[in-house]
């Protein structure tokens, strides 16, 4: 059941990104990464890792790039976000914002770094691009979590998630 939710979350993010890119040009937001980070915060590091792999491979395949480039960055970002979500309490707006920015920086560092290292792509201002995308992803991610918390039954579900994390942290 969790696996289905994770797949739905990731594919939903990618479909929305596909529509967004055509309407506003994309660039400043990566909804695939937002979905991966959200999955990692909700379901833990393994879910984040696998969600990152799925999202990245699909993006690479459809984008025509080298398979694994996006997957590597997103897998690492998803896993580390899951670790952070387990070790720290990430329920405040500021902490969530920082997690999304951090995950974007991690993903960007790996993707841009590998691209430049292998001579595959050219970046004029990589730091600014990644920073802007970090802010864009964080805003969307924080809003998404606020939306999730307003859904019916969300409070109870969120309590279960936090309880599960607490057990993981101490056992």
């Amino acid at each position: 059941m969790i696996a289905l939710r994770v797949v739905a979350f990731v594919l939903g993010g990618l479909v929305l990104q596909s529509a967004l890119v055509r309407v506003v040009g994309g660039g400043a937001i990566d909804l695939g990464l937002v979905a991966v980070v959200s999955v990692a915060l909700l379901y833990g590091r393994v879910a984040g890792l696998l969600a990152g792999t799925l999202a990245g491979l699909v993006q690479d395949a459809l984008g025509g790039g080298v398979l694994g480039m996006s997957g590597l960055g997103k897998s690492v970002a998803g896993y580390l976000t899951g670790v952070v979500g387990t070790q720290f309490i990430v329920t405040q707006t500021v902490s969530r914002f920082l997690v999304f920015v951090g995950a974007t920086v991690m993903n960007g560092a790996l993707f841009v770094g590998l691209s430049v290292l292998l001579g595959l792509r050219h970046y004029d201002r990589p730091f600014l691009d990644v920073a802007l995308q970090g802010v864009g992803n964080a805003v969307i991610g924080v809003l998404l979590f606020h939306l999730i918390e307003f859904l019916p039954g969300a409070r109870e579900w969120w309590r279960v998630v936090l309880e599960r994390r607490r057990k993981r942290r101490f056992h």
Binding site: L14, D30, G65
Partner: protein, 288 residues
């Protein structure tokens, strides 16, 4: 025998996934022999799913549009009637222009059609990643589409076929960070390389620094020497020129194609002709 706990298993899985990705990347980078079977199979599955999703979304949208169209149809009719009147006047003017153009066409002995075999394709999806500027079209290997075939729109160059699947193909847009085309400034005939910036523009590099060859507003066309794009296709207009002493520091091209509203494109099916100066001049006349 000790069994690894959940935490260790997660770490092992993490390491396995990272190593898997690195091996995957290593297997592709620097390989001279086209896309692998694995890649083609993976892309085929993903693009077919995307095509099906797009068809479903299109169906829902069409039903919704139909419903919305029924509402306010009267106001729409009135507006259309007004537009019809205005368009009739415009049509008269355009007929006069067309007559003049036809005379000029005869004088210049231009051929009326593009000399290459083409196939029309519909854009069925955009890129799912902000790092790639690409679109998926509904024509693939079964329609004769092959890797590196140029893709154009009425306004100019769209990009190249990056990865053809069975019935769909991924087209790398010319504005992608890893896209490039040999370009020529129409006014000064100076050649350079147009490279995608990833932000909707191109930068023009390897220009001669010995003369004032670039001006804002100059039209840049394909040079036809890169073995991919035929000569004379419009790439865009020079938007920005920055100099650093005698050399050009930054020359930016604004593409003529609006990639956000791209719906139909043409794929040039025939191989790009081998470049010769005479052929280049002839092709430019034909296309433009």
């Amino acid at each position: 025998m000790l069994r690894p706990d959940a935490s260790s298993r997660a770490r092992y899985l993490f390491v396995a996934v990272v190593v898997g990705h690195v091996l995957l990347i290593s297997a592709q980078v620097g390989s001279p022999s086209g896309p692998s079977l694995f890649r083609l199979a993976f892309v085929g599955v993903v693009t077919e799913t995307q095509r099906a999703t797009w068809a479903l979304v299109g169906g829902v949208r069409s039903v919704w549009d139909g419903y919305m169209a029924l509402r306010g149809v009267r106001a729409e009719n009135e507006r259309l009637a007004r537009e019809n009147t205005e368009l009739r006047v415009l049509l008269q003017q355009e007929r006069a222009h067309a007559g003049a153009a036809e005379q000029l066409r005869g004088l210049l002995d231009l051929r009326a059609r593009v000399p290459w075999t083409t196939t029309g394709a519909e854009v069925v999806a955009g890129s799912t990643s902000p790092d790639f500027r690409s679109v998926t079209i509904d024509k693939g290997l079964s329609d004769g589409v092959r890797r590196d075939m140029p893709v154009i729109a009425p306004a100019g160059v769209v990009g190249r076929v990056a990865l053809p699947g069975g019935h769909t193909a991924t087209v790398q847009l010319i504005i992608d960070r890893s896209a490039a085309a040999a370009g020529r400034i129409e006014r000064s005939r100076t050649e350079g390389i147009a490279l995608g910036n990833g932000d909707g523009t191109l930068r023009f590099e390897y220009l001669s620094a010995t003369a004032d060859v670039v001006q804002r507003g100059d039209v840049v066309v394909t040079a036809g020497i890169d073995g991919m794009y035929p000569a004379g296709l419009v790439l865009g207009h020079i938007e920005r020129v920055e100099r650093n002493g005698p050399s050009y520091r930054l020359v930016t091209i604004r593409p003529v194609v609006d990639f956000s509203t791209l719906e139909t494109v043409l794929v040039l099916l025939a191989p790009t002709p081998v470049w010769t100066p005479a052929a280049t001049a002839r092709d430019e006349k034909v296309i433009r």
